[in-house]
Amino acid sequence: MKNKAKIVIIGGGISGASIAYNLAEKGETDVVVLERHYLTSGATGRCGAGVRQQWGTKMNCLIAKKSIEFFEKAEEILDYDDVEFKQEGYLIVGSDEEEDELFEKNVKLQQSLGIPAKKLTPEEAKEIVPHLNTDGVYSATFCKTDGHLNPFLMTDAYYKAAKRRGVEFYTETEVTGIDVENGEIKGVKTDKGYIECEIVVNAAGGYAKQIGEMAGVDIPVFSQNREILVTEPIERMQDPMVISFSKNIYCQQTPHGAFIMGRGDNREAGLSVESTWKFLDEMAKTVTNLLPPVGELRVIRQWGGLYNMSPDRQPIIGGTDEVKGFYMACGFSGHGFMFGPMTGVLISELILGEEPSMPMEELELSRFDGKDVEAYETNVV
């Protein structure tokens, strides 16, 4: 293991791998990525593998849109065989007039930013997903360029591209402390040794708060276990991801054939990723009602993963005046995987002193300074 590097990235998920790649691609190769277990062992590898642009805040829409544009060319740019990207859309179904008003507002925002989303009637939704049960569906929205992407392979593509450019990755290496002197980063302590460095990037997903504490930075995020399950693979029967905020479900068929589905419940903050029978029961009821034929499939596995929630459900991307050299890419609130490309672009621009590709005021930690957050992204399952 190196005992000195310019930049140490903590976290071997999509964010860490994307940041490493972007830095190396721009010529900064004195970079080390530390991962406690194996790559994608945290939130990235536990996510629902969906990528969408249908968000309710401008920043989330913009980050998602630019990230999708990258995914469309990812195999070519990163020289990788197949990341299992398919753009067959996200169909979002709503239950009542109130949700319909939200859809109206969202679609207007999305269209103004160039995202090809549109409102649909229940009948139109059924044309896209013929097995959708439209009882209790008031209206829907659809964006055809949203879709599916394999989190393991996408991260692997970034990892290999970063490695070829000189970045070193240390797995099974846990960060135990961060050295800060006079408000400046000096190094990172791990269970495998010490690494002297100038810059630390906190891309630790569910553990972002704990990493912040090591550097003496209080990040207003909390983690929450969200559960998910997968079925046996079957022949192709559903093109888009089907999701609903009010019905509390997301469900898609992956290109491989398996159905992946999840839902959230308002459980206590914590770091547990346990699986519960309660989730299995509720998930089975919800999906069998909304997508009846999916009820005939066998569940083969369930697991949990951490959403790292920020106060406004938008990510925290940027540095802090409190500690020079400490950068954060966290608080993704359940959509860190699909924002991965822009996370890497933005953090690399900030570190290298380049002009950021998008306005950063609403992404930096300082946006919460002395302010109560009133408006926040509501389009999260």
């Binding site: 062992s41 491989h256 509720e282 089975a284 069998t288 999916v294 009820g295 005939e296 569940v299």
Partner: protein
């Protein structure tokens, strides 16, 4: 026998040759292999291939079998239909 003709994971169609290739690329743990090749992630949930994968890692890297961690087993033990789970849950209510 040609490793290309030895099927290790029947659910995900992974051969011994595939495993050797992944070992050479640097994927050395069961968890990493699962995520790149889907070995052990199909309907049998590694009940068929699990021990074989562990054994092949041990042989290839010349490490004792007991030092090769088995994969992280997750529920369910057997595949169960979602509708059956729904009906059982509603029955209890």
């Amino acid at each position: 026998m040609d490793p290309k003709n030895i099927i290790i994971c029947r659910c995900s169609d992974v051969t011994l040759a595939d495993l050797f290739e992944l070992f050479d690329e640097g994927y050395t743990s069961f968890e990493e292999l699962k995520r790149i090749a889907r070995v052990g992630m199909g309907p049998c949930q590694a009940n068929t291939c699990g021990k074989m994968v562990q054994w092949e890692i041990s042989k290839y890297f010349k490490k004792p079998l007991e030092e090769i961690p088995f994969h992280n087993m997750r529920p369910l033990t057997l595949g169960v239909k979602l509708r059956a789970i729904k009906e059982a849950a509603e029955d209890e209510e």
